[in-house]
Symmetry: C2
Subunit: 558 residues, 2 copies
Amino acid sequence: MSHLTDIDIAKTTDKKPINEIAKNLGISKEEFIPYGHYKAKIDVNMNKEEFEKNKGKLILVTAISPTPAGEGKTTMSVGLADGLAQIGKKSVLALREPSLGPVFGMKGGAAGGGYAQVVPMEDINLHFTGDFHAISSAHNLISALLDNHIHHGNSLNIDTRKIPWKRVVDMNDRQLRHIVNGLNGSTNGVPREDGYDITVASEIMAIFCLSEDLIDLKERISRIIVAYTHDNLPVTVDDLKGSGAVTALLVDALKPNLVQTLENTPAFIHGGPFANIAHGCNSILATKHALNYGDYAVTEAGFGADLGGEKFIDIKCRTAGLSPDAVVVVATVKALKMHGGVSKQHLNEENVIAVKKGLVNLKHHIQTMKDVFNLNTVVGINHFYTDTDAEVQVILDACQEWGIKASVAKVWEQGGKGATELAQLVVEACENKTDMTFAYDLDTTLMDKINHVVQKVYGGNGATYSNKAMKQLREIEQAGFGHLPVCMAKTQYSLSDTASLIGAPTDFDIKISELRLSAGAGFIVAITGTIMTMPGLPKKPSAESIDVDREGNITGLF
Amino acid sequence: MSHLTDIDIAKTTDKKPINEIAKNLGISKEEFIPYGHYKAKIDVNMNKEEFEKNKGKLILVTAISPTPAGEGKTTMSVGLADGLAQIGKKSVLALREPSLGPVFGMKGGAAGGGYAQVVPMEDINLHFTGDFHAISSAHNLISALLDNHIHHGNSLNIDTRKIPWKRVVDMNDRQLRHIVNGLNGSTNGVPREDGYDITVASEIMAIFCLSEDLIDLKERISRIIVAYTHDNLPVTVDDLKGSGAVTALLVDALKPNLVQTLENTPAFIHGGPFANIAHGCNSILATKHALNYGDYAVTEAGFGADLGGEKFIDIKCRTAGLSPDAVVVVATVKALKMHGGVSKQHLNEENVIAVKKGLVNLKHHIQTMKDVFNLNTVVGINHFYTDTDAEVQVILDACQEWGIKASVAKVWEQGGKGATELAQLVVEACENKTDMTFAYDLDTTLMDKINHVVQKVYGGNGATYSNKAMKQLREIEQAGFGHLPVCMAKTQYSLSDTASLIGAPTDFDIKISELRLSAGAGFIVAITGTIMTMPGLPKKPSAESIDVDREGNITGLF
């Protein structure tokens, strides 16, 4: 058990120059754009057919329903990719970029942990290569063009009370959730209600991650609905004549970023949309790069298998024409204990009964991946040093009973060496590719799609709709967007829409309070309960502990 | 006369790989951080004594009072540096980074023009190496920490009606000038008045440009006054415990950026504060890098010699221990015609009398540089193809009469070849370094400092103060900040505080409406009239003309 912090470990490990990593992947000098010595962007002049052979096997890492105890999905993804390398496979990661917001809020990076990290972790967790800043600028340019149009006469007849397009900032800043702007007289805009989301909640972020190339990106941006007229007609970015300029801000950002793990496994880290109001996966381009350059491409999806996992398949894979060769469902003893009813302060005490009780959640997610989506599924147990053998054995025994291969991975402590058995299971799972099925077909009604997700993926009875949601549903279908996939915005903590219902609840309805059309991203967001799109900082934010010395060494980051 | 646009010229000219440019300067591999193939950051582990020998000669490029006709100060700076190279001198540029705001507003880049440009111009004008994004994040982190403190109990007793620290975005967005935030109930902050400035107006930007290193940066950040308590006591970033985290966001940004001109002259482009509420010069670090690596370091200051020029000397040089070896005052025939009373639509008609009449403005600025600051001064006439020989001769004759060396530079058409004579004059001017004097000493009162600037630099009688300004002046002196330099925020269009008073007005007072303490930057801003810190977009913003093709080529940018 190491007593070093993540940043200590990251700093004391030798990184390879990133041009070596790229060269080993077969990336040419012309395609390689360095951002310092340990980050790069890859600019492949894609011969699409060549590139889309997708030579590698695709492995999705997903998880049980998250708990405050943590599952370590990113850490496991990193460890698995390193584990595959340890057993002689050419593996490449595709992961999401972290947001700046949480860095200054709660402690905890988004670049893995222990000996299973991607590096340089300070860079990845701070500005990285500037993608999120570019996305913020692109988003806020649309806002500026919109309000400028209204200010200069509003010839599009926009109703300033019907503007779903908020502004964004990559910061946890609750003060900006609800604002009134355009105040102080006629030279300073037009007063109206507005608000800020965090950048990862921007529709530009979702679009960015679903785009195949710059033209696709521009077309999606042009379709974004930013406002409605007094006659209730949609106003798009195209109507504001902003598509070209907004896309120009994203030219560099759209090129996937290449970094490495502590064990020098290549990692494409690119894009990072929310997994509630958006689909929660890294960019399609990053995944395709990983597949092109690796024999095994390991990627992750946000939150549990019911949220990020489902959307990875029904939204991302459907859009990109991808399908996983294998799925790893990550579980931890601690999180299963919480699903079994143990409170946070008792998690370090052995409790075999609670682990057993929590297994229903794991079982449910395995069944979703295996039976609903027809994917080869294995379980990865992310080992923590307080886990007892008896507790771990409970999970292993259960998996055996269910006919599911499972392995204990000690990636935090040992890196890739701790995941060679899991890697072997994954390689075996990839040997017989299945025909993936979706949870729903696109050509059914929106209600049917939602029902399919609720019944097949959540285990609920169906969905109920608020009056508002019913009205929106009809409007969206009448406007011709009924063919789009649904993006469920639900609490990540429960399979139901009630965060406190842990384990595997049954006999519940999902209450749809609101539907939102993301016409650019190409999905309909179905909102259940209250979804937070702008977090706040805690009373003692981790920003207070961060410092820098004369040489630029950052401390207290994690 | 070329018919190519700036971006056409920039694209058809061969750039050298930036590592070659760096290598030729003597920058080691360890000090070189590539950002793509044509941009880099330089990370000198500064041996301060070694570095501060400032081997090169420092040349300040300033100008007459700007007019809508344009003076082309950046274009002249680039042309002069290229001209120095043409006559065999090792010249290096130090320039400001452009803001994103104007790019989408009015046409016109900030990377020079014609054959006197810095490249890659699309990058420089868009995100460049992310410095402004880092500064925006750093600024807005302070805002988030401030409002978070108030939300969580406000133990510092901050009066939410006394918060001078606004938020920033690098965008022209008038809608955000005046806002109310913290709305919608007790979980969403505390309602208060707020507003946004454009990023270049952030005090962080000014601090960034005046900092010698990371520790200096952090100390300045810690001193920023963000709010006042109900007892009228200042609240600083240090009180919010944010100095370390804010500085952590600026570690990479603080390293100067290296690019090149179209003629491969090295250019450090770094920082870009407003020249009204701040001092309007690139970073001290960029200037010191240019001096360290070049025999001739060419740098510019914002607006005319009365604003950026004065502050370059009284604020930047004083802080950094620098002094120019020579000053170039840039003038154009068109701008002098406007100072002579010609309206914009008649500028293309020859008008020798108007040029003669406008000369008073040029003469005034020459006298300031020569007599007030005791600097070797030459005049650079930035030639435009509609200028007639007779018009140009008027300026040359006047300069001869005043005993000032002057040269016509055709840098837009010819690049460095068009400025070899000017370069020769500059080299000669540098041969006998003078003892620079300041417009005022720091140990006089704030009123005295302001009077010195008004009388010596503007040619006015003195200053009058609003009641508010008088009160603020007393408070600032009582709080112990009376020893700081003053930063005059005045219209750039006139030597007076009345924009319409062109030429060289006399017998006027400057009306100080407000004083602002920039305790981190280390100056007192004296505001005359209304200073705009958040521009708006025009009715037809240039964003509408910008587009991108499949390969990422940006068109319509300029």
